[in-house]
Symmetry: C2
Subunit: 144 residues, 2 copies
DNA sequence: TAGCAACAGTTGTTATAGCAACTATTTTGC
DNA sequence: GCAAAATAGTTGCTATAACAACTGTTGCTA
């Protein structure tokens, strides 16, 4: 591993790519008046897959801070897309799940997300995808 | 390009990796009481390299919104690390440059940044780095 | 079983991200 | 020349990120 390449700004490149993707997604959401943010979408997607989870599980699944989850969920509840349900045995726990409107939102937005995911990859191969996954997983594992 | 791999969450992985890196850097900065954030560091690094730039140039160089630049610079000015200087010809323009304290901060923090950059890459090769760069650049170019 | 640690979640605060609207200049087009 | 457009930067607002401190609940253990 040479010095020059270590000094190269991969942090910057990750950041720039992620911002480009996030802005693209958000502009498409706004253009089609989906009335959600990218991160709100990520929680909706996760709640659709897991049906019934706690704040903690959602935080782990999405790589988000639990305080951030708490605040995004608050917004989704206000929008009527998510409902909270207290655990009858452990009164500290609150289960989260999509409302019927939340499920509708998922089904409404899902196709355009699928198309947008294709856009970033249109000139890349499955091998590229596996390489990216491998490298990012390795960096993730290397960092304390 | 198969459907399954398109639906895989590369967005999520980028986000998670970047957060891991950012949190690691921030914790190291805090532990050694450098009294800066990761993004403040990125601006300092950029100002050290370019000596004298405008808000606009800095925004382009760092892939940050110009309003974000404006606010981070405000914090750096308050800390005495950056100074603003009006252009004598075009009174709309403000040049930014590091103060002597800003240069000291750069030289103080630079070595640990260099070490931290190594940490993420310790089990990866230069070929991996080139692959990551190529793939991220391609995604960046693919996204409108 | 009393006390305390651990756990689940919320709230306060500061920072970054981005859009819209704004001021103040400079440039352009006629 | 002068009005309109473009440019440089700031401010207001909402959202996400993360830490610290907080409430309330449950589990552990001396």
């Amino acid at each position: 591993m040479t010095d020059t390449f270590v000094s190269n700004p991969s942090f910057f490149k990750l950041d720039a790519t992620l911002k480009k993707l996030r802005n693209y997604w958000q502009k498409e959401f706004d253009a089609k008046q989906k009335d959600i943010t990218v991160d709100q979408w990520l929680l909706i997607e996760n709640l659709y897959k897991h049906k019934k989870t706690t704040h903690n599980e959602l935080a782990r699944n999405t790589s988000k801070d639990i305080t951030t989850i708490s605040r995004i969920i608050e917004l989704l509840v206000k929008k009527g897309l998510v409902k909270r349900e207290a655990d009858s045995l452990d009164r500290r726990k609150v289960y989260l799940q999509l409302t019927p409107e939340g499920v509708d939102k998922y089904k409404d937005v899902k196709p355009m997300v699928h198309e947008m995911r294709k856009v970033g990859w249109k000139t890349l191969s499955e091998k590229d995808y596996n390489e990216l996954t491998r490298i990012l997983d390795t960096i993730y594992a290397n960092v304390p």
